[in-house]
Symmetry: C2
Subunit: 338 residues, 2 copies
């Protein structure tokens, strides 16, 4: 793999959503390259599962409701690069917390762009959207390229689609150099159990430590997904920030598909508990139709020398080991358990 980032000593990087899943990994990656790193988060402190060397990064608090407040943070930091990763990430929960999803996924970038204009800073921006904006395959097995029709299948996806198009329009009209990243599923340690691989891993760890009977409960297992290690995804973010063209959109994925049930099989094969049972609960609503998403990554490949370093086996093994550690620690310190 070629180098996707060069040392940028004079740079001041700001990551919104830095305490989140991708945010913290991005910070970790950029610690090797950026001159200075700052974060914005809704929460005033780092979650406990974030490594202590990351917790030294200055954390600014904002809920992205007020562009004057965000502008004052921007003026203070005067960032040269902003990664906007803050958002409402759970597709499933976006059906019940719809207005929260729209506020976080569309409202926050609106406030951010407004704050950039108000503050007068000149920063390059990477907006982290989502590959889910393409939605279901209208034509089955159609490869989704950056110019494919947008067909969002959830409030999460439609709010991300709206913000992706907003980002384009702001670039056109206000000259803010915004690069639109459209990551597909990224997985790994520290991901919330709202996501399948994290949920499966946690359950296996609990079963191994006899915290629950040997039954893994799952949603639909028949869908196909492009699964990328979060540590690879954030490197693509950093690479696109350096080499991407403002105004343009870039898919981020491995370009390979795997059926969820096959990924689960890999996880199960890593377990030391024999005879694990799987209980699949099929979704009742038509809203969760399974589909095969084929991710076109030609544009990413033409732009970056990026390719995933982590194999799916490594990623899933790391994720399972992360949960083994979390569950073991919880057992040793039951007070921390919830």
């Amino acid at each position: 793999m070629g180098t996707v980032n060069k040392k940028m000593d004079g740079s001041r990087v700001l990551i919104t959503g830095i305490t989140g899943f991708a945010g913290s990994y991005l910070a970790e990656h950029l610690q090797g390259y950026a001159g200075e790193i700052h974060g914005i988060s809704r929460s005033e402190k780092w979650p406990e599962n974030i490594p202590s060397h990351l917790q030294k990064i200055p954390l600014h608090t904002s809920n992205f409701k007020d562009s004057v407040q965000v502008a004052s943070i921007l003026k203070k930091i005067n960032p040269t690069h902003i990664y906007h990763l803050a958002g409402f990430a759970q597709t499933g929960k976006s059906f019940t917390n719809t207005s929260e999803a729209w506020a976080a996924n569309l409202g926050a970038p609106q406030i951010l762009y407004d704050a950039i204009k108000k503050s007068g800073i000149t920063a390059k921006v990477l907006f982290a959207g989502s590959g889910l904006i393409y939605g279901t395959a209208k034509y089955n097995k159609e490869i989704k390229t950056e110019s494919s029709e947008l067909m969002p299948q959830s409030p999460y996806a439609s709010s991300k689609a709206a913000a992706d198009l907003l980002s384009y329009q702001i670039w056109v009209n206000d000259g803010i150099e915004i690069i639109r990243a459209r990551p597909f599923n990224h997985i790994g340690p520290r991901q919330s159990i709202d996501f399948a691989m994290a949920s499966f891993s946690k359950q296996i760890a609990e079963i191994e430590l006899l915290k629950k009977p040997p039954i893994i409960k799952t949603g639909s297992l028949s869908a196909f997904r492009d699964l990328t290690d979060v540590r690879d995804t954030v490197k693509a973010y950093a690479g696109l920030m350096e080499h991407g063209k403002p105004g343009e959109a870039y898919n981020i994925g491995s370009g390979k598909n795997i059926r969820i049930s096959d990924a689960l099989k890999i996880l199960v094969s890593f377990s030391n508990t024999p005879n694990l049972k799987i209980e699949e609960e099929l979704p009742s609503s038509s809203s969760q139709k399974d589909f095969e998403l084929l991710v076109g990554i030609d544009k990413l490949n033409e732009t970056l020398s990026w390719k995933p370093i982590f194999s799916l086996d490594e990623t899933l093994s790391d994720t399972l080991n992360y949960w083994r550690q979390i569950i073991a620690t919880t057992l040793q310190n039951p007070k921390e358990s919830k």
Copy 2:
């Protein structure tokens, strides 16, 4: 031209934005077909320039800020068909009144769809978006079909794009039968002078009645536009409501392009004032780049037997005559003038 609507005696039609430009023409068209017509408007009364037979249509007031309030209107009317035409229509003003544009163009349909769910009514919905969501020609002279990439060039266009995708997603997840109309420029009598042809017509009428010197002030005249008579556009709305497929998007336009300067020439040729001067003020910002929009209308043609009835000459002549009457009336009743 084939018939685009059949008599629907039992129908109860609701038009949001009924007091607006397209809204009032749609109401006029549907008076021949629908069983009952209701309107929602922000304003509590009809504008003075609306024909009196339309002013008999019951008008309900809402600013689309509260879905409970809209739901109570919906329950009372129990509409079988809803045309959602309410919105912020001025592209130019959307640059300065950005949050107002987003609230009207995205917030209002969010409230409407929420209100439909809350009220428990079963109505088919036509959402009036905009052909401007396709934006500038990335590839010059590219024909914009319904699956073309969305590249909005203004807050108006990005808020309409967001609502168009929202409408698709709500259909997928909530089963509300929404048809997405993507009209290109429609013009005619009663249009606001925020739009070029109305502004030119008003100026010519003022010049003819010696209310101003013989100079027509214009914005950039070099862009190409697909200009359709509003009376034809609303017939396409009604046709799509009947024959369109829920979830699908449909371009509405003539499929023909005309340079703004050539349309102005036609208007000038109708004037009885010789030696009209034209003063073109070119936009300073890159945001108003001229572009040639070629509208693909194959899908519309496959779905409807609609085609425009009004020639551009007729439309422009009617528009100019409308303004002649308005200016003459204002001169006779100077108190009404603003």
